[in-house]
Subunit: 243 residues, 2 copies
Amino acid sequence: MPVYRLDIAYDGTDFRGYARQEGLRTVQGELETALGTLIGPGVETSVAGRTDAGVHARGQVVSFGHSDVLDLDRLRRGLNGILGPEIAVWSVGLAAEDFNARFSAVWRRYLYRLDTAPAADPLTRGFVWNVGRALDLDAMSVATSSFLGEHDFSSFCRSVEGRSNVRRLTELSLRSESGLVEVWAQANAFCHQMVRSIVGYLYDVGRGFSDGTRTAEVIAAHDRGAVATVAPPHGLTLHEVGY
Amino acid sequence: MPVYRLDIAYDGTDFRGYARQEGLRTVQGELETALGTLIGPGVETSVAGRTDAGVHARGQVVSFGHSDVLDLDRLRRGLNGILGPEIAVWSVGLAAEDFNARFSAVWRRYLYRLDTAPAADPLTRGFVWNVGRALDLDAMSVATSSFLGEHDFSSFCRSVEGRSNVRRLTELSLRSESGLVEVWAQANAFCHQMVRSIVGYLYDVGRGFSDGTRTAEVIAAHDRGAVATVAPPHGLTLHEVGY
């Protein structure tokens, strides 16, 4: 059966997350309804990153199998017509028959943006967390290095019973310009709320609430209670997925 | 009488422009109502750039005289509390007694953003004009040079009877990255719809509808009918004002 790949983006503000939930407006729900309209009912999609309510995506990847040979350009235009402007379909392509957006992915890369201005910027307020205070970026940078590599990230995950929280983080970097701070995080995969918990922790370090030199201990504690702050969802964007 | 200066930003999406209009929701209307609540009625403000409906600002400047000595930080926090998140007040300061946000300004700088992706990016759709097609940036760049200097810009203005359309444009530059095109325009002042008309013209050049090598003739025509396209307001942001 042919497998199709969609590269999509969305403004997560008014969705209850990516994953379909009965009776709630979700990205998957809207997408599968649109696919049903365009190519027939019963399409089940797989996704690279099941983002939480309020989280955005620029480079999300979705796949599905379909017995028909589809007109790719027509499907893309049809989906954008139904789903825009909150959801954009950048491309529709034919993938290898063993391609699965979730299981074939080898890394995910997220961007979290926060800014330190005294008031939220009206033009970015939907996509940037305004913390409204200066942050000690040097202390935050020192803390980031402890995260790299393979760890049990239970201190930074909303755990699911019986599931491992071991992940391999290959990038955690800060970029700062004119009061805007970008936190880039790449890993083979992320457990639930992991990026927002890491950013919340870095924020606590940056405002002097947590001691960044003890980050390795916080990770080793494997204790969700060791991290006080979870950054709000609207600052987070799934940026890219690697295959 | 002390003169106060406000540096503000706003998301113009849901305003009928900056300038106060009876019965309509405008930035000036909201701002003066908030000032009335905080420091008493009857405050009349002056502004550097009276942006149109749907146009945004990051570096707008407003001034007003007030007989009282005001607590600047308290006023800033009070205004942000009332006006946020669509309007942000970056700072409130005491200006020279002869300062007037409009008449003291020596230049204004605008940013217009457009993108060439096949669909609008959900995360920037409120602030970027998605033209949905490739543009010939080289041809657009050639056209920009003809605009520099002092000209009668009647071809690019919604004229007001009896008012001069002579302006001195000191910058008109393009920056392009990953399909996003930024048009930066700086002048001593702009006449009505001037940036959007210039961008609309550059877009026509970029899509091959107008011949960019004839730009000097179009300017010299002093004829509003010579320019077919006015770019939509939501791509435009008043970026900075010089004093």
